[in-house]
Symmetry: C2
Subunit: 479 residues, 2 copies
């Protein structure tokens, strides 16, 4: 039976070809299917369930911080997109444009939203008049489109799902505070929910978001040392407010422009989960977003009492966890491989001998360690084991991040590391975009990720031009 | 202070101008804002929170019935849309079309999904091979676009939010069962969650969905007697499967076409809530989807102990209900009007004398009845009062539906009722689409809503042509 072939044989090893491993995993774990629409993916039930768990967790964090959800139109009239100069320049090259509606050529072309700053501003102009209307803390869950030439599921697709927060504040101080608060919210979410550590900091001038005064970023490192821009939080100042003529009357009865932020994370996070935690047996999902947290596999399930006990366990555990009992007629070996491939954090095996001993076997997807546990306190044991999976995933990723964090004291070291050591590179920088360009060209793609909040003093000179250094920058290749 | 002006004075009376009343309510209750994008609306926090509550409830019902959520691309290549003849004919006139992507004219134009049958079929072709792969019970929450000439918030907009279920089954029987099961799911949801009664049945040939073999519908009646198509469930047979070449090997090892269904409801339901339950004081929300279920209004809030008690009550009630305490410096009268306008089902007033008596006042938004209740069992009292609001809303709507349900025994009666009595008309019909057309023309828009599951025998003859009648049809004007 073809199904009996071990899943693990069907995927490429990470060390042989990481890109192919990724492609194999997203397909075999049934996260996505390719669609007939160029650059667009189908998110299958198992992949979408991860997204739902992510949404559920993040949305609660946003609401706790006082944010409200809204829904803006997905079409942006071209004239509206053009109101803020830097913004339109940044996005114009990657827009999908509707030119026909109801069988007629449109008088004004409509851009399918690549992001919604302009729409939010257009609305804020109508509803913000007084300081009493501030802050406005809005968020939107939606699809956006950015036309891409080369695409990869979750990492880079022409259409993707995301949330975009857009907030308005009385002054710079409050807006800056919000920008950093939301970056921290993402950082906490990555650590507490996705078990992913990351470097955080602000983007250089060159890498900022189109129209932003300041862009902060969270940059987790994938297993192969490549960075993934995991989320960004922008401070806009009052640039958009001026472009859209949004004003309010302040506490002293003076007319002022409000200060703005935006922040977003997307389905790309699922790519981060896959490439941070996965291994040669497939996906490994952090328990908090795993659609199935415990897979119950009955052993010798035809023997009397086994399925009954397995079902009773399922019922008991389902009160607290997301549980799947697989009582199909596939072989036990096939089932083991299947749920490993799908990254289920915990496997629970139960057979006749276990039942005799009033126990079962728990197997961690990360350590692959087997533990015999008593059925008397199975709920606590499962809870403990899931927490252990989360902690172990985080520790492993943290170790990878530390091991692949290189330091370059001079230009030669930088080029040598870029060529030979996968990972991030800490190095000093003069603040000049030309040096960023040069380093990127010389290394075939190593870019500044961010200027971390805490900078070390590695040397006094720019790693590229040798002029006095202004900042320590973390560099790296990116997805 | 402009704010002190009673809200109720700001909206048109229902009896004077129902359409203007609707527009006033959606604006004043802050459900939507008009956008600069023709035909598209902005759903504001209060409106979107209703949609979130609807989604949460419906999604749980779908999942309980075994459905899984997925996400399909929002673009449909024109060639894909054209694969099923009836389908493309139905939708072509109202498509928005992307012709430019990444600054290049596209080789193939992309239709922004008006519905996703074609995309689901394209995917099902890849993943359905054996009877073991069936049924496939997929659902999607997303935005869709249907180009509209005249638009009204929630009722008819070029872009709207909805869910679309798409399922595949081994045979006709199972697919037909699913079609009716999902109609019943909608009916239960309308009754249990939205407190809205409705006529249900199947659409005539003329009114069927493009490509469907059978369309079932739920048709609630608005306060003014006009119908709103509240949700539909379609049986497709194997028409799409054949057009898309989706086959599976059945239990006898024969190659077969699967049978298909789809079903959907949209943000239009918010329109149904407004027009079924609202009154001249504004919105009335069914408690189960109300973003605020209880508004606590402190009376004489500057007096010692009032705000403390109000806050304590808020804390206590928030464990079980969605509660808002308004301790702003707006007048008590303004607050009363404000939360009436916003349709909050229950108002809780608490002042110094109430505190002395260890009681508070509950005011129902529907009956406007005041009840003094003891604070000792406030949670139970609020629960009871919310249930009463739900039941009263349902009873009121049911009464309206019964009162405005007319019977026409012959052509003259039909025309007379259509002209003079708002509401639905039960009448006999020969089965001929020409009679439907004629009745619609003669009455300026009265159309067949559906053939109910239980038909009465009003007469033996078609109300239009006098030929032998085949069915009893419920007719009505529609939004």
């Amino acid at each position: 039976m073809a199904n009996d072939k071990k899943m693990v044989e069907q995927i490429t090893s990470m060390d042989v070809d990481f890109a192919q491993w990724y492609t194999d995993v997203v397909k075999k774990a049934e996260l996505v299917d390719y669609s007939g629409v160029k650059g667009c993916m189908i998110i299958r039930p198992y992949g979408y369930a991860i997204w739902e768990n992510i949404q559920h967790d993040l949305d609660a964090r946003f609401k706790k911080l006082g944010h409200e959800n809204v829904y803006m139109p997905m079409f942006i009239p071209e004239s509206l997109l053009q109101k803020e100069k830097d913004h339109v320049e940044g996005f114009a090259p990657e827009c999908a444009i509707v030119t026909i509606g109801g069988q007629n050529r449109l008088a004004e072309r409509l851009v399918v939203r690549p992001t919604s700053e302009t729409l939010f501003c257009d609305h804020y102009k109508n509803i913000i008049h007084s300081y009493r209307d501030l802050p406005k803390l809005y968020n939107q869950w939606c699809n956006v489109v950015r036309w891409e030439k080369t695409t990869r599921p979750f990492l880079r697709t022409s259409e993707f799902l995301w949330q975009e927060g857009h907030t308005m504040h009385e002054n710079e101080e409050q807006a800056r505070e919000e920008t950093l608060k939301m970056l921290k919210c993402y950082e906490d979410f990555y650590r507490e929910t996705l078990a992913i550590p990351a470097v955080t900091g602000r983007k250089t001038e060159k890498e900022k978001f189109a129209g932003a005064k300041e862009t902060y970023t969270i940059e987790p490192m994938m297993h192969n040392g490549v960075a993934l821009q995991g989320g960004t939080s922008h401070y806009f100042g009052d640039g958009f407010a001026k472009a859209f003529d949004i004003t309010y009357t302040d506490r002293e009865n003076k007319v002022q422009y409000p200060h703005q932020t935006s922040w977003g994370v997307s389905t790309r996070m699922i790519g981060a989960i896959i490439m941070t935690h996965g291994d040669d047996n497939g996906l490994i999902l952090p328990p908090k977003v795993a659609p199935i947290q415990v897979a119950i596999i009955p052993v010798a399930q035809h023997k009397e009492g086994v399925l009954e006990k397995a079902n009773a366990l399922k019922e008991q555990l389902s009160e607290k966890f997301r549980v799947k009992l697989d009582d199909s007629d596939n072989s036990t070996g096939w089932k083991f491989s299947q749920y490993e491939m799908k990254g289920v954090p915990l496997r629970l095996e139960i057979g006749p001998r276990d039942i005799e001993n009033n126990s079962c076997v728990l197997v961690s997807r990360v350590s692959r360690e087997k533990t015999f546990v008593s059925l008397d306190n199975i709920v606590e044991e499962v809870e403990k084991a899931l927490k252990a999976v989360h902690d172990e995933l985080y520790a492993r990723a943290e170790k990878n991040l530390a091991e692949k964090m290189n330091i370059a004291r001079n230009h030669d070291e930088f080029l040598d590391i870029a060529q030979n050591n996968p990972g991030f590179i800490k190095a000093m920088w003069c603040g000049d975009a030309e040096c960023e360009d040069k380093l990127k060209d010389e290394t075939g793609g190593v870019k500044s990720r961010c200027i971390p909040f805490v900078e070390e003093n590695i040397s006094d000179k720019c790693v590229c031009c040798g002029k006095p250094a202004k900042h320590m920058v973390v560099f790296g290749r990116q997805y």
